[in-house]
């Protein structure tokens, strides 16, 4: 009720208000491609955001692939230091450890799943 009274009081304009309104009023501004340019900027931003995570993962995978492969290759030597009877088996399952190609495939799969889940989310 109080807000309605305030709004009514605001709407009661005197001659000076009406003249100021007339002074401030201008013809509507033509679009002239303005909204199209805003929408294209918005679309560009959407695509940049959509691609940023997969691209970051791809770059990270490329950078991290070599050191990761080195670690995997060094694993037999590292494991050979550990006493064999510690695991209670005669032979360590080195062959069962993921190989280079498997790791690359895994990384690609993670990227694809991330990209697909983002698309689904949107």
């Amino acid at each position: 009720m109080t807000s309605k009274i305030i709004n009514m009081a605001e709407r009661m304009k005197d001659a000076e208000d009406l003249k100021l309104e007339a002074l401030f009023s201008e013809k509507p501004i033509a679009d002239d491609g303005f909204s199209g340019s805003v929408v294209s900027r918005v679309r560009r931003q959407v695509w940049v955001r959509r691609l940023s995570l997969p691209v970051a993962i791809a770059i990270g995978s490329l950078i991290g692939a070599k050191p990761l492969l080195d670690v995997v290759m060094a694993l037999p030597q590292i494991l050979s230091i550990i006493p064999v009877d510690m695991f209670g088996v005669d032979k360590l399952p080195i062959d069962a450890l993921p190989q280079g190609s498997t790791l690359m495939l895994g990384a690609a799969l993670i990227m694809a799943v991330t990209f697909a889940s983002r698309l689904l989310e949107e």
């Binding site: 605001e10 401030f24 303005f34 909204s35």
Partner: protein, 167 residues
């Protein structure tokens, strides 16, 4: 989905671009600067769409984003300083010479401070209520009313206007 949202947002831009660009043009008195700011403001609005609660009008919220964008750009850019200098020049010259290129509105706006200008434009050009202006300019309603009163006084005094005769 995002593509559809962008299309829907494009419709909102088409509907409100005139008011937002008009507000910024009056505020900066520079068409190019104002249109650049309006583009940035719409992009900010797109990124902050989830903060619009729907409590007030959408145009009120958009103008708030536009005003914030304007204030942020003013802090960063020198271009606004140049425009402000030009406006001061207009204010200094208005009693000496009548230039055809300088409109009555330019002269009136030039005698106001930046805050007064924003509030007067939001009130008389954009037609926002005092409450909406308060939310847009982050000012209490009482301050909005006193700024409008002071703005009108300044315009009357600066142009020696009696009996509310403008133009």
């Amino acid at each position: 989905m995002a593509q559809q949202d962008a299309n829907a947002f494009g419709e909102l831009v088409r509907r409100h671009q005139s008011q937002v660009r008009g507000f910024l043009r009056k505020l900066t008195r520079d068409v190019t600067l104002a249109d650049d700011l309006a583009q940035d403001a719409f992009l900010h609005a797109w990124n902050k769409l989830d903060t619009f609660t729907g409590r007030g009008s959408f145009i009120g919220w958009l103008l708030k984003v536009a005003y914030t964008t304007f204030l942020q750009s003013r802090r960063k850019s020198n271009r606004y300083g140049e425009v402000l200098d030009e406006m001061k020049q207009v204010a200094d010259d208005h009693t000496v010479q009548e230039s055809a290129e300088v409109s009555d509105l330019d002269k009136f706006l030039a005698v106001l401070t930046e805050e007064e200008r924003a509030v007067m434009i939001l009130s008389y050009a954009c037609g926002l209520s005092h409450r909406e202006i308060g939310e847009t300019a982050k000012l209490p309603i009482g301050t909005v009313k006193s700024i409008i009163f002071r703005g009108k006084e300044k315009i009357r005094e600066s142009f020696d206007i009696k009996d509310h005769q403008y133009g």
